[in-house]
């Protein structure tokens, strides 16, 4: 299904070259960074993008090309390929979709596109379009970014207010932490109202989620199958319902702006803790300079399965508790990041940025570190 959708979008986009009205755009982020300490942190628990105490330009640098063309008056095809430094700049099809403009206010897209979870989901990788070096990872770094499916967008005006409604359905699949996470029956609805200076957005989503991490799954199955099959089923993430709730507010007067987002992700019947994440950011624009400040918080460290285990009584409770704690130790995160960023508009398509972030881990302060980064963002 997925491959078929990609192929359709691609064929439509390529066939269009004959009409000579194909639009090519691109963007690039060249980002270098260095952490103050050489920390040993598992990838599931590192909000510093893998930087260590040597300067690196590959963790976040990326290059992307987008081609789009009109199939007819109402239909267009878009393909975006993206090469990330962390993947040795291997070229990936990030997005490929067909959009059908039903009316001037409504469009339906089919294919692979960014899951519209957050206020800036769509333009997350386009560094030029925002004031940070990267969008706050506490909120934005989720293991399900791209959706294969359908999306409906509706927008209209009511007086000075613009409102946008969106719905998306489909599936996702992503490789993380030596495993694969899959979401079936994924759906998402969002609503946003905005005027000249204020924008408020809310989103609700759900997916039947399966996380296949062979080592972890084998451990849970081996330990619990015989003695506590109910607890095993509770802990394993197999077709379990994940729920996503998010709200965002932004005030932008163009001389200054302040905004924030809050998200809550919960896969109740699984070993993963419920995640609560939020950030606030504020900045001012002085001509070509945009200094800003951001504070973000991530909390997801509750130990799952304790109540279910307690119900089984002794001696299981004493015997299995250490295992629950060990699993929790792999996924638990509780941290804050405080950042100061400055953006300089070098040209109408090039921005230069510098950022210093202080990362403070509330579970293990040996992970604390300061991250310094510089970036060049380019669009064409």
């Amino acid at each position: 299904m997925k491959k078929a959708l990609l192929a359709v979008a691609l064929t439509a986009a390529l066939a269009n070259t004959a009409h000579a009205n194909i639009r090519i755009n691109g963007f690039a982020n060249f980002i270098g960074g260095m952490a103050s300490e050489d920390r040993v942190v598992s990838p599931t628990q590192d909000p510093l993008y893998g930087y260590d105490d040597n300067i690196s330009f590959r963790e976040e640098s990326l290059f992307a090309l987008q081609a789009s063309g009109d199939v007819n008056d109402r239909m267009s095809a878009t393909v975006q390929v993206l090469a990330r430094g962390e993947n040795d700049f291997e070229v990936d099809f990030e997005w490929a979709y067909l959009t059908y403009r039903v009316t001037n206010n409504m469009a339906v897209s089919a294919g692979r596109f960014r899951l519209p979870l957050f206020r800036l989901s769509d333009s997350l990788d386009v560094g030029y379009s925002h004031h940070w070096i990267s969008a706050p990872q506490a909120v934005y770094d989720v293991p399900f970014n791209d959706l294969d499916g359908f999306r409906i967008d509706y927008s209209d005006f009511a007086g000075d207010w613009e409102y946008k409604l969106g719905a998306a359905v489909g599936t996702f699949e992503n490789e993380i932490s030596a495993g694969t996470i899959e979401g079936d029956n994924t759906y998402l609805v969002s609503a946003e109202v905005s005027n000249d200076w204020l924008s408020i957005r809310s989103v609700y989503g759900s997916a039947k989620t399966t996380f296949d991490q062979p080592d972890l799954n084998a451990q849970i199955t081996d330990q619990l199958s015989a003695v506590a099959p109910g607890l095993r089923d509770f802990l394993l993430m197999e077709e379990d319902t994940a729920r996503f709730v998010g709200v965002g507010v932004q005030i932008d007067t163009f001389d200054w702006f302040v905004g924030g987002e809050y998200t809550d992700i919960d896969i109740e019947e699984s070993y993963t803790p419920k995640d609560e994440a939020w950030y606030v950011t504020a900045g001012m624009r002085f001509g070509k300079w945009t200094p800003s400040f951001t504070y973000q918080s991530f909390k997801g460290d509750e130990v799952k399965g304790l109540d279910e285990l307690a119900a089984l009584g002794e001696p299981l409770q004493t015997a299995i508790t250490p295992s629950l704690m060990a699993i929790n130790g792999v996924f638990a995160q509780n941290y804050t990041v405080t950042s100061a960023t400055v953006r300089y508009d070098y040209d109408s398509n090039i921005a230069l940025k510098a950022e210093i972030s202080r990362y403070s881990d509330d579970l293990n302060d040996t992970r604390d570190a300061t991250l310094s980064r510089i970036a060049i963002n380019y669009v064409f």
Binding site: T99, N104, S123, D125, V126, S129, F254, D345
Partner: protein, 137 residues
Amino acid sequence: MKRTIGATLFGALLSLQAVAEVVVVVHPDNQATITKQNVQRLFLGKETAFPSSEAATIVTQPASQPLRAEFDSDVLGRNTAQVSAMWAKLVFTGRGIAPQEVETDAEVIEFIQGDKNAIGYIDSASVNGDVKVVNLD
């Protein structure tokens, strides 16, 4: 001599500023009632059609043109970098098609002659019978 040149240049700059006024123009046959708010929404990619529901073709000038900066700040109320950032967001999310860009006022007029649904902006001094000025007040 240098001072004379300086004075002449200064005078030229002053007179340029006195004359240069950006005006929004459309095809003379365009019957839509267009407000400043429509112009802002069209040039920021929030709307794709005129109030008459005809799809609009947006034509702009390059960031290197002083008139562009004037249009962005006076009519859109943003600086050019912000406008570019907003368009980057729309283009790379497939939610908008970047405006056509032409180099000069004459080319804007030519473009509008060739496309009845085009909307652009030029210096008021360049206005001729081939375009209709949109009243933004």
